[in-house]
C-alpha cells in the first residue's frame, strides 16, 4: 500500500483511512457532510498526492499529444490547461486527464492514480514520434484547495497575483510560503479553487501553512468522501464509474472534449461512427422521488424493462436529495422522465433531472 507525504498527518487528525487504488487515503476527518458543506461555503484542503503526473517533451510533443487525446491542444497557449479523455481505437476511454502546456515543447499530463501504469504503457505503445515520456508521479505531490475562500487564503502566502490567474490556467515557479510550487486554477468540486503541485517533501509544510493561513476563513481538511459527493453534484465524471474502457466519452456527456474535426487521433473513427449512428445510451442525472439512495450498479427500469444502471449515487448534502448518475438507453434520458431504481430488489420512484445537480461556481 502506498502512502502520501501526509500519511502521518492524516493519522494524527484521526481521519478514517481507506484503500483507494492501492493508496492509503483519508475518506473523512470530521464527517463527510460537514466537510462537503465547508468546501461549498468556505474552503477545504484535500491531499491528492496520489494523482499521477507524466511529462511529455520534445519538438514533436504537441503533435504526439494531439494524436493520443480527443480534445484539441493545438490552440493552447503556454500556461493553459485543458481537460481531455484519452481513448482506445474502439472509442472506450483509457483515462481522463488534464494537459498543462508548460511551453512549446513540454507538457505535463495529470492522470488518475489507479491508471498511471496503464496510461504509460498505452502512451509508449502508441508513440512513433520522437518524444520523451517520463512518469514523474513519485517526484510530484499535490494539494487541492477548494471553495469560495480559496483565493483569499492562498493569496496570503504568495506575492503572485491570483486574481490574474483565470480558470484552467497555471503558473509555475510560484513562491508559496517560501517554497517553489506550480499553482493551477483547477479542481474537482464544482467550486473555485486551486491545485498545488510540489515536491513530496514540501507537502507537509505547505499543508500546515495553508491550514494556518485559512483559519480565519474557516479552512478545514476534507477527505475523499467529500471529494466524491462534491464532484457528483457537479456531475464531473470519475474513471471506473462514469467512464471506462467500455464507455465512450460521447456516451458520458463529454462531447465538448471530443473534437471530431481534428485530424487523425486515436478513437476518431469509432467515435465519429458512433455519433453518426446516434448514441444508444448516454449518461443522465437521476433524482430519487421515493425512498432510497441510488448506488453504483443498481439497475434502472421503466415499466419493468431494464433501461440502464447507476454509475455513481449518493445523498447530496447541497441539495438534500438522493441523486445519481445513470447510463441509460437514450430514449429514456429526457428531463422529467419517470424511471424506477431497483434498490435491494424493490422498485423505487425516480426521475431524470437536468445536469449538473449543482451549478458550478468557477471563476472565469
Amino acid at each position: 500500500m502506498k502512502k502520501t507525504p501526509l500519511y502521518q498527518v492524516h493519522r494524527d487528525l484521526k481521519s478514517k483511512m481507506i484503500d483507494f487504488g492501492d493508496w492509503m487515503l483519508p475518506v473523512q476527518y470530521f464527517g463527510i457532510v460537514d466537510e462537503h458543506n465547508n468546501v461549498r461555503n468556505r474552503a477545504g484542503l484535500f491531499d491528492v498526492s496520489h494523482m499521477g503526473e507524466i511529462i511529455v517533451k520534445g519538438p514533436n510533443a504537441e503533435k504526439y499529444i494531439q494524436k493520443i487525446v480527443t480534445n484539441d491542444i493545438s490552440k493552447m497557449k503556454n500556461h493553459q490547461i485543458i481537460y481531455t479523455p484519452m481513448c482506445y481505437f474502439h472509442g472506450g476511454v483509457v483515462d481522463d486527464l488534464l494537459v498543462y502546456r508548460m511551453n512549446d515543447t513540454k507538457y505535463l499530463m495529470v492522470v488518475n492514480a489507479a491508471n498511471i501504469e496503464k496510461d504509460l504503457q498505452w502512451m509508449l505503445k502508441n508513440c512513433k514520434e520522437e518524444v520523451e515520456i517520463e512518469d514523474v508521479s513519485d517526484k510530484i505531490a499535490q494539494l487541492a484547495l477548494q471553495g469560495p475562500e480559496s483565493e483569499a487564503i492562498l493569496q496570503k502566502l504568495t506575492e503572485t497575483p491570483l486574481d490574474a490567474l483565470p480558470f484552467y490556467t497555471f503558473q509555475d515557479n510560484v513562491e508559496l510560503g517560501g517554497v517553489k510550487v506550480l499553482v493551477s486554477r483547477t479542481g474537482y468540486t464544482g467550486e473555485d479553487g486551486f491545485e498545488i503541485y510540489a515536491r513530496p517533501e514540501e507537502i507537509p509544510g505547505l499543508w500546515k501553512k495553508l491550514l494556518e493561513s485559512g483559519k480565519q476563513e474557516g479552512l478545514m481538511p476534507a477527505g475523499l468522501g467529500a471529494r466524491d459527493t462534491l464532484r457528483l453534484e457537479a456531475a464531473l465524471p470519475l474513471y471506473g464509474y462514469e467512464i471506462s474502457q467500455d464507455v465512450s466519452p460521447l456516451e458520458a456527456r463529454l462531447e465538448g472534449f471530443v473534437k471530431l474535426d481534428k485530424t487523425g487521433f486515436i478513437g476518431k473513427e469509432a467515435l465519429a461512427r458512433q455519433k453518426e449512428k446516434g448514441l444508444e445510451r448516454k449518461l443522465a442525472g437521476i433524482q430519487i422521488t421515493g425512498r432510497g439512495i441510488p448506488r453504483q450498479g443498481y439497475r434502472v427500469q421503466c415499466g419493468h424493462k431494464d433501461i440502464g444502471f447507476i454509475t455513481s449515487g449518493s445523498y447530496s448534502p447541497s441539495i438534500g436529495k438522493n441523486i445519481g448518475l445513470a447510463m441509460l438507453a437514450s430514449e429514456y434520458t429526457q428531463i422529467g422522465r419517470k424511471v424506477d431504481i431497483i434498490i435491494r430488489g424493490k422498485s423505487t420512484d425516480a426521475e431524470v433531472v437536468k445536469l449538473p445537480f449543482y451549478t458550478k461556481k468557477y471563476k472565469r
Binding site: I32, V33, G225, D228, R291, I293, R295, Y315
Partner: protein, 127 residues
Amino acid sequence: MNIPKDLKYTKDHEWIRKEEDLIYVGITEYAQNSMGDVVFIELPEVGDTVVKGDAFGVVESVKAVSDIYAPLSGTVKKINEKILDYPEKVNKDPYGSWMMAIESSDLSQWDILLDAEAYEKLCEEED
C-alpha cells in the same frame, strides 16, 4: 465511548432495551461513529416477523450501506417513524434513536445478549 450499563448489546453493534413487553432495538455509538453521517434508514413494517441474526433493516451513511440485525426473533410492534425523516438523529443520539420495537417469541434468547462490559471489550478488540 458511551456504552450505557442498563442496555444489552450484540456483536453486530445493536443495542437492546426491554420496556414492559417490548424490546427496543437501535445501533450503538460505536456503530454510528464508524459509519459516519447517517443519511437513510430502511425499517420493516409493523406486523413483520424478524428472525434473530437476520437483517431487519438498512442504515446508509454517505459512503456505505450497512445491514442492521435482529437481536431476537419476534414480531415488529412499532417502528420509529421519526428517524426515517431525520436519520441524522442516529448520529447525535444513538441510544435515544430506537429503530423498532418487537415482541419476542423466545425470550430465552435474551440471556445470550452481551452486557455492557462484554460489549465494551468487543469494541476495544475491533479498534
